[in-house]
Amino acid sequence: MKGLVMGNEAIALGALKAGLGFFAAYPITPASEIMHFLAAHEREIAFVHAEDEIASIHMAIGASLAGRKAMTSTSGPGMSLKQEGIGLGHMLEVPLVVVNVMRVGPSTGMPTLPSQGDVLQAAHGSHGDYRPIVLYPGSVVECYRYTIEAFNAAEESLSPVVLLSDGFLSHLSETVDLDAVEVPLKARTLAPLGQGRRHFTGLLAKEGIPKTKDTAYYREWYAHVKEKMRRTAQNYRFSDLHRHPKSDTLLIAYGITSRVILPLRKEYSIFRPVTLFPVLEEELRAAAEGHNRVVVIEMNDGQYRGEVQRVLRREVLGVSILGGEIQLAEVRERLYDL
């Protein structure tokens, strides 16, 4: 497809390209257009406008178990509700894509101004330990590409993969050529329900038999899951680095923020992670090398900055653009003031 495409439409088109077979969601601005575009395809895919966010992710889990590539989409308030299903998906090891188009929170917050406030939630929102893969594109064409990659990562890791966007990016319309995007598609990996005698459970279980009091088994199981996620994530390390020969400052930004600060390339080095989790530690360390200052610019109160600081083990500065509005002039001014 060539032409003017909106971020949310690109996500829907990417999902269809990836082989989406089931979609369930609940309306919420600024994510609803994903639903609208996919509703138009309800004769080709199974589509449910569900009664709530919890139902929609659980339906997607059921459909994925039954053999279809499945997705659900939402924004912050809905993402909070979906955490239950995300945890279940990790425990059952079900491939699934969950899209969160971020807006300003907490709670109903500022409907529906853009934000990046759900970055840590994407990694740690559900209870217990799990290691999700989280991708965050930075343009309309990337919304398309990384939705496909999210489906691939879900199949390969047998886990719910979170695709982040924001109200700004999702409502951004750009002229794109989606046909030029080439991403090899992963086939289904999980044998569908109807094989006869498998048991999937949200309990800790070994071959379908609950092991709810077995500490040693939990440790063995968790080590296996952690290693599986680490191994899979190796194939989904997406980022780019612009090195400015004269800059001793490295700016780090992602999603819409990286887009807004694009003109700062003339003055600064810029590292842009697309894969937010697992954190791209090697890439971050390589990018930071040769720079005295590292500054993370994000539309939240330093969520990714904390991760960067942990990886680099040195002080990392931050520019937090809060409250749903981002202007290049403000970013520039705040950088000078640092």
Binding site: G21, F22, A24, A46, V48, A50, E51, D52, I54, A55, S56, H58, M59, A60, I61, G62, A63, S64, L65, A66, G67, R68, A70, E84, G85, G87, L88, L92, P192, L193, G194, Q195, G196, R197, R198, H199, F200, T201, G202, L203, G208, I209, P210
Partner: protein, 249 residues
């Protein structure tokens, strides 16, 4: 296939207490599948959380044990993804009409072709005996120490709210009727809801003065009567089927 082929015998003993009602319903459901000669590959059982929720893991078919209250949406997703599968939800009242009540209302409205078996013991048994949405008015529980102030949820009214519906009330005492109802429900092309009147001896019965499960079972025998051809809805003490297949009423 005999009923034995639908059960994971190596998983026994179950988690259920001595004198529990669930085991009888569990086994009788397998009897129905035997009579239907249902291939294992065409059947999926989904359970939520609670004592009844453990049933999925004891059936020797593909089964899913999900989060609390979410058995119905997972079942709907499975059915919509693969129409060939017979999807049976086996879970409790707290799971299906308490925390999962919204899904019950809306999956029945969408009339998705699944069969829901709701074991109604009127209590949260697994967590120790707290008031359920189905607990009788005035009954003392851990969370209603002075007696429940509320009327129990009218499951029948919700299940029959849509023009097209299938609601049945069975009991753990009248098991032949339970079997015939399940067969009818599984053949029903749409959302079929079966409320099975059961009991919990360990976490409510003893506090009410029952000595054992047997006494509770016979209380059900005394309290409930079959109504094979109800005119309209069932009375609160009646067992039977209420169904309507014509959307234009």
């Amino acid at each position: 296939m005999t009923y034995k082929d639908y059960i994971k015998w190596d998983r026994l003993p179950t988690t259920w207490c001595a004198g529990c009602a669930i085991g009888m319903i569990f086994k009788n459901l397998a009897f129905v599948w035997e009579k239907m000669n249902l291939p294992r590959e065409e059947l999926v059982v989904v359970s939520g959380i609670g004592c009844s929720g453990r049933a999925a893991g004891y059936y020797d078919v593909d089964s899913v044990h999900v989060t609390h209250g979410r058995a119905i949406p997972v079942a709907e997703g499975i059915k919509r993804a693969n129409e060939r599968l017979k999807v049976v939800v086996f879970s409790g009242d707290g799971d299906l009409v308490g925390i999962g009540g919204n899904h019950f209302i809306h999956s029945s409205r969408r009339d998705v072709d699944i069969t829901v078996i709701c074991i109604n013991n009127g209590i949260y048994g697994m967590t120790g005996g707290q008031m359920a949405p189905t607990t009788a008015t005035g009954q003392k529980t851990l969370t209603s120490p002075h007696g429940t102030a509320f009327a129990p949820l009218n499951i029948q009214a919700l299940a029959t709210a849509n023009p097209r519906h299938f609601y049945a009330r069975a009991s753990v005492y009248q098991l032949n009727q339970f079997q015939s109802i399940v067969r009818e429900a599984m053949a029903w092309p749409g959302f079929a809801f079966i409320e099975v009147i059961a009991f919990c001896i360990e976490n409510v019965g003893r506090r009410l003065g029952f000595k054992n499960g047997h006494e509770m079972l016979f209380k059900i025998k005394q309290d409930y009567k079959m109504n094979l051809k109800p005119e309209g809805l069932l009375q609160p003490n009646e067992l039977g089927v209420v169904k309507h297949d014509n959307p234009a009423r």
